[in-house]
Amino acid sequence: MFLTFITDLFQQDFMLRALIAGIMLGILAPLLGTFVVVRRLSFIADTLGHFSLVGISVSLFLSSVGITIFFERPLYLGIIFSIVGGLLIELFRRSYTNYKEISMVIVISLGAALSAIFFSLSKKTGSLYNYLFGSILTVTNYYIVLILITAFIVALLFILYGKQILAVSFDETNAKFLGINVNLFQFVFIIMLSIVVSVLLESAGVLLISSMMVIPVAAAMKLGWSYKSTLIISIIFSELSVFFGLWLAYSLRIPSGAAIVSINVIILLAIAISKRLKQKIRISKLDKMQ
């Protein structure tokens, strides 16, 4: 069964597309995930995903009333709405500086409510499932181009401004004394995150995007000894999850996003349990020595 999967991966066009999209997803999600976790904004991808869904539902609604400009590419409005959602989070975050999560609850609720209204008005609630859970096995060539461009832009931004983004993420207060325009960097970061979340939505889905960003990082934090090592480990975990998730989805005919996230969680649990066991063994050895 595994050999058939490997053969099909390189012989079937849709499988090859899924592999390329998966590899990109496996890099982009934990890369941005590390920043999101450092800034204690683990729910932000979920929130942006919900607001991106508003854009998609508005696209479907517009096409249902004869405005078909976004019908082929609902993702465009998804990106625009995700950016609006990101800016709303920043706006509310400044009103509730010590309660960052409140801003996300407000935006996620608004996103869910508006999506439900526009999906209902468009009478295309059937398509909701794909957007909620995503499907990496059905991505198009166009999507591959889009995700590659996104990865290129993100890589460029990190090469140019990675140090500054890290400095703001770890210590917002001190960033000012490094000559960093904190507000500008917050703005650039939230726009970049909004675009990436919208693009990954098609393959990962609204409900699973956050887990793909956060879970590999959470697992890597248990093993990493530095920022760099934690980032590399999280990308390795993420790629392993994508590969074995695709295999499971293909073999068992189950949703790909769900399979990838399940593998992610299995890795996290395996690491957490093994670390705990290791700790217990060490303590019992010390007890015996005494």
């Binding site: 400095a167 770890f170 210590d171």
Partner: protein, 222 residues
């Protein structure tokens, strides 16, 4: 850098914290700020650093109003509790210093400073594995990396033991001797260790006294 504070008042809502404070800090001064909890020491520092917006009175840096001031890289700041810093995510001392350095490479002069502060031994250690004293040294080094004109320290010895305290204050004295302006909030118990040039005492009833060391009360209780 020349710092001129003129009739500064500050309030959180209707609660006044600072009232009509005026003083001048010249280049190379070593100012110690002392006072009981709630007397407004940290609030004053936050005004100096532009974190608290000044609505009444003036703070001038070389004649530039704090509201228009942009050259914050001329300041090094070590806060009281580092509450804003995320300690839990893995990050080595070397990585922290690298992201806090304006230039990509550390010059020999800065490397010497790292050596003097005993940072080389812990450069590959995770930030969350450091003791209070080690952490304090790392944050001082971070504040000094970009060669500021003024170093501001808000109760920097709150979490370190007596032995480390002596080492810490002697390092601050060395920096002062090199011409750096120091502004330091301190507990009264620490005064014996400090070779300050000026002292500002802030009282809970909003009065203050500003003295030059060895000179009679300069501006008196305002």
């Amino acid at each position: 850098m020349y710092i001129n504070i003129n009739n500064l008042s500050f309030a959180y809502g209707s609660k006044a914290i600072i009232s009509n404070l005026s003083l001048t800090i010249n280049k190379g001064d070593y100012l110690v700020i002392r006072g009981k909890n709630g007397a407004g020491k940290s609030t004053f520092i936050k005004c100096l650093l532009g974190f608290n917006p000044v609505k009444s009175g003036m703070i001038l840096y070389d004649e530039v109003d704090v509201i228009d001031f942009t050259e914050w890289t001329r300041f090094g700041y070590v806060s009281q509790s580092f509450d804003d810093f995320n300690y839990e995510f893995p990050l080595t001392v070397g990585e922290l210093l690298s992201i806090s350095s304006l230039k990509n490479t550390l010059e020999s002069e800065r490397l010497k400073f790292l050596e003097k502060m005993g940072i080389f031994e812990i450069i590959n250690q995770n930030i969350n594995s450091l003791s209070g004293g080690q952490l304090q040294r790392v944050f001082i080094v971070r504040a000094m990396l970009n060669k500021p004109d003024v170093l501001i320290l808000d109760e920097p010895t709150a979490s370190i033991d007596k032995q480390n305290k002596e080492f810490f204050y002697s390092t601050i004295e060395d920096l002062h001797q090199e011409g750096l302006t120091i502004i330091l909030i301190s507990h009264n118990d620490d005064i014996e260790y400090l070779n300050y040039s000026h002292i500002l005492t802030m009282y809970s009833d909003l009065t203050t006294s500003f003295e030059e060391r060895g000179v009679e009360v300069k501006e008196g209780i305002l």
